[in-house]
């Protein structure tokens, strides 16, 4: 199992550009999440999904969009990049049931908007 994979690892965008951060998991997890981590801060939830076709906003959704057409993939879209979106982005997934809320994280995408 590759677990949770994210591409790209690094990206530099100019203000106003768009991009899609890719996330895929091969564990057949229904729940998937997107977080951002700013320096000195904890992870903030951007969007999450409880299954294919179902998504919902987290704490900081403004400036982002998501889609979930398959169980495996959960891409995050930035339409008009702004410097405030400079951050490290983590995708995570977890099983629907289980004894804990353990989430499995990808290695992250470091995004810089200039």
């Amino acid at each position: 199992n590759a677990g949770v994979t994210q591409t790209p690892k690094f990206r530099i965008l100019k203000i106003g550009q768009s991009m899609t951060l890719q996330c895929a998991q091969d564990m057949n997890h229904n729940y998937m999440y997107w977080y951002r981590q700013d320096p000195g801060m904890g992870l903030k939830l951007i969007y999450y999904s409880v299954g294919a076709g179902i998504t919902d906003k987290g704490e900081v959704p403004n400036g982002y969009n998501v889609s979930r057409s398959t169980t495996e993939d959960f891409p995050l879209r930035l339409e008009l990049a702004a410097p405030s979106q400079t951050s490290v982005y983590f995708c995570a997934s977890r099983r629907t049931s289980g004894r804990s809320d353990e989430q499995f994280f990808g290695p992250g995408t470091r995004l810089t908007v200039l």
């Binding site: 949770v4 904890g42 992870l43 995570a92 804990s100 989430q103 499995f104 994280f105 290695p107 992250g108």
Partner: protein, 114 residues
């Protein structure tokens, strides 16, 4: 509003001694607590968790204590090893209508000196 706080940004401990990482929370609706460990350039990985109905959970060198009345939890690592050097995040689970959400603290950098 920081619902989960890790007030110590960093902690330095000698190899073989005990490391104690602290976490405070404000929301009494949290019903499950998790600790994640993060190495540089990697995603967080699950370490240990505790349900709000318990006051202690142990897994090898790692023990988490929960004091519900004080809204405080702590992670004890005994004995500390150089490989434990990482960022440790405390997270609290909040049950939602669709899926659960984790709220993360800002993290504590642990350095174990050999």
């Amino acid at each position: 509003d920081q619902q989960v706080k890790q007030n110590s940004p960093s902690l330095s401990v000698q190899e073989g001694r005990i490391s104690i990482l602290n976490c405070d929370y404000t929301n009494s609706m949290f019903d499950y607590f998790l600790w994640y460990k993060k190495y540089p350039a990697e995603g967080p990985t699950f370490l240990i968790s505790i349900s709000s109905i318990k006051d202690k959970n142990e897994d090898g060198r790692f023990t988490v204590f929960l004091n519900k009345s004080a809204k405080h939890l702590s992670l004890h690592i005994v004995p500390s090893q150089p490989g434990d050097s990482a960022v440790y995040f405390c997270a609290a689970r909040r049950r939602m209508e669709y899926g659960n959400k984790l709220v993360f603290g800002a993290g504590t950098i642990l350095r174990v000196k050999s």
